[in-house]
């Protein structure tokens, strides 16, 4: 299996480099992290015209049972267009859109120095002091602001991403469809949540790029600096408050907040002060509920993949999310 993949990867690279010699792939191994993609860091060596070359690369391939149904071609095209934009996105190098070469859809990007630490704000594996962690939390807000400030028309993102007339309605439709498709049994609780979302959705406003999954776990850090946001598979055009809701979702508090030093309201205030936008608190609550509705859809996809034998991991966690969703929707908005 490993040899088959090695041969497939070498063939994939050879077809892209063309008439070169001495192609060598080193260090390839599946990296932990990322529930929806297989990650393979590797070093590529080759010779061309008497010159030796070396590139540090990273391959992300769809697993057999992904928990997110996203399109590698869209991610590749977005990242290609973002390369000369003022945003910390990785450089994409190659694409296997349909998996005909690497077994499953995959993209190859430049590999950057730095480390990944999902829970860096709580100490994580880096064990940075609290002031440094507050600084990193503040940089995460800057990262989000960079994304929302992108001129998506100028970058040509509307060539690959849909421009929603009503971002909240589009988001409900998208995730309700995932739940409908993936659920193995009737879900009365999620029916209640869907109806609540439809009754309480905010009016359409400004459209920006929305990352969809900003979190330290998707970032590479260099010391105490946020270096690059790696994972762009859920990027879309929509309401910027969606990202603010995602990072202030109470369920994800441990990833985004530092108790007593950097809590949800500090994050929102920093975002407002630096952007000049006012975050409507009802809209924020709507997007926090939507964040958990989306997480339930992802968990359900994982459950179906497990029950259908496509993945080895036993997914749980829907119970906790259900409790939170009921509490979050106990009252109507406005």
């Amino acid at each position: 299996m490993a040899i088959e993949f090695d041969n497939a990867l070498e063939g994939f690279i050879r077809r892209r480099l063309g008439d070169v010699v001495g192609i060598r792939v080193e260090g390839e191994a599946r990296a932990i992290g990322g529930q929806s993609r297989e990650n393979w860091p590797f070093d590529l060596f080759w010779e061309d015209g008497g010159q030796s070359h070396h590139r540090r690369l990273f391959l992300r391939r769809d697993p057999v049972g992904s928990v997110l149904e996203t399109d590698r071609r869209v991610e590749y095209e977005v990242l290609r267009r973002l390369h000369d934009q003022p945003v910390r996105a990785p450089e994409v190098v190659w694409l296997d859109a349909d998996g005909s070469e690497l077994g499953r859809p995959a993209l190859v990007m430049t590999r950057y120095d730095g480390f990944n630490d999902h829970f860096i704000l709580q100490g994580g594996t880096s064990r940075l002091d609290e002031d440094t962690r507050v600084g990193i939390a503040s940089q995460m807000v800057d990262l989000m602001i960079e994304i929302h400030a992108l001129d998506w028309r100028d970058a040509g993102l509307d060539e690959v991403l849909a421009v929603p007339a009503d971002p909240a309605a589009a988001a409900i439709d998208e995730w309700a469809a995932v739940i409908e498709r993936q659920s193995l049994e009737p879900q009365p609780l999620l029916a209640v949540i869907e109806q609540w979302l439809r009754r309480n959705r905010p009016e359409p406003g400004e459209i920006t790029v929305v990352h969809g999954d900003i979190k330290p776990g998707n970032v590479l850090f260099d010391g105490d600096q946020v270096q690059v946001l790696l994972d762009w598979e859920t990027v879309h055009l929509g309401d910027p408050t969606e990202d603010v809701g995602w990072v202030t979702n109470p369920v994800r508090r441990i990833e985004h907040q530092i108790p007593g030093r950097w809590e949800a309201e500090d994050l929102v205030s920093a975002y407002e002060a630096r952007t000049g936008r006012t975050v409507d608190r009802d809209a924020l609550r709507f997007w926090q509920v939507l964040a958990n509705y989306k997480l339930v859809a992802i968990v359900m996809t994982g459950v179906r993949n497990f029950c259908d034998g496509r993945t080895l991991r036993v997914w749980s966690g829907a119970g906790l999310l259900a409790k939170v969703l009921l509490a979050q929707t106990a009252e109507e908005l406005g």
């Binding site: 599946r30 932990i32 049994e185 009737p186 879900q187 009365p188 609780l189 029916a191 209640v192 869907e194 109806q195 009754r199 080895l312 991991r313 036993v314 749980s316 119970g319 259900a322 409790k323 009921l326 106990a330 109507e332």
Partner: protein, 122 residues
């Protein structure tokens, strides 16, 4: 009867944790073994509660839907056929889902049932 199903499940978990895990150096495989061991531990602890909790949820659903309690017991009083109960339960949940989707704001009794049910069926 010994070993009980829980004991057998925990025995399978020991094979993973005590025999397989120490031999594995690959971090991805280690992670998968950890997930599998946790799942077996959960299953061993929870499976005896599944049937009684299912019956409790069926009765709660019947009440919130206003339907007559069904006869769930077979030859031995107190013993319920799991597959039949699951199928009946699924039908009740589908009916409640349809009612919610076709109505406006759900009544407090529905939210109360859902809160209780979420607590019971972890």
């Amino acid at each position: 009867m010994r070993p009980t199903l829980s004991e057998q499940i925990l025995g399978a978990r020991r094979v993973l944790v005590e025999l397989a895990a120490p031999e594995v150096s690959d971090s991805y495989l280690q992670e998968q073994i950890t997930f599998a061991a946790a799942a077996l531990e959960h299953a061993a602890a929870r499976w005896p509660e599944v049937l009684p909790e299912l019956v409790t949820d069926i009765r709660a659903l019947e009440e919130v839907l206003g339907v007559e309690p069904a006869e769930l017991e077979e030859a031995v009083p107190g013993v319920v056929h799991l597959a039949a109960a699951e199928e009946y339960h699924r039908g009740l949940r589908a009916r409640l889902t349809d009612e919610i989707m076709s109505g406006s704001k759900p009544p407090p009794a529905v939210r109360a049932y859902l809160a209780d049910s979420t607590e019971r069926l972890r």
